[in-house]
Symmetry: C2
Subunit: 121 residues, 2 copies
């Protein structure tokens, strides 16, 4: 957590126990981008297998609570919508809600992703 | 790029030049999460100074094109809206559009962030 923060999100509440205690997080918190990157790893290595790979166009991300040191995360993915491309008959956009939960089953991240996927014409 | 992808987004188009050439990216592409993490680093180290730090609640992220090996990125931040909290007189939500541009001034990421900020009651 601290190594990721030192490289990508060097703020006191991600780096220092004491500073974090006095921050809005009331204790050391992972960078949301670390949660996002770990979620991607779990998603790539897990059950969401898409032909051509996971190609993200973007999406809506929420961090309802931070990931903490020692947390164990898992990911649940739900297909929300499949939107065929209007211009390209062999493409569609897949809307997937990727929820990252800690060991207490509390969501630490909800990412409603738009993925570019191949489609039969 | 490859080190980040190997840890967090191990897909062929982020890891292998030849596989990437034959993918939708038509060449090696950084993970979107690497672009996001690098953007956070530029934002934290740059001009967007907020009392209490940058505390992200979430937001809308878009990757209109990938970051490529050798790209030089910079970030432009624009305050879009300030929404005072209804329940907490000393808090507000700051909507900021954080655009990450490559050396050709092409956006590689547009993140419309919601930040939790302190406010005078």
């Amino acid at each position: 957590m601290k190594a990721f923060a030192a490289e990508f999100d060097p703020q006191p509440f991600h780096l220092d126990q004491e500073a974090a205690r006095q921050s809005i997080f009331q204790g050391l918190a992972a960078s949301g981008w670390h949660t996002a990157a770990a979620t991607m790893r779990l998603t790539v290595s897990g059950g969401l297998q898409i032909a051509g790979g996971l190609v993200g166009l973007g999406g809506e991300i929420e961090w309802p609570r931070p990931t903490r040191a020692g947390d164990t995360l898992h990911v649940e993915s739900e297909i929300v919508e499949i939107i065929p491309s209007r211009s390209k008959p062999n493409q569609a956009i897949l809307k997937v809600r990727i929820t990252t939960l800690n060991q207490h089953s509390e969501p630490v991240q909800i990412f409603t992703a738009k993925l570019l996927v191949p489609k039969r014409p």
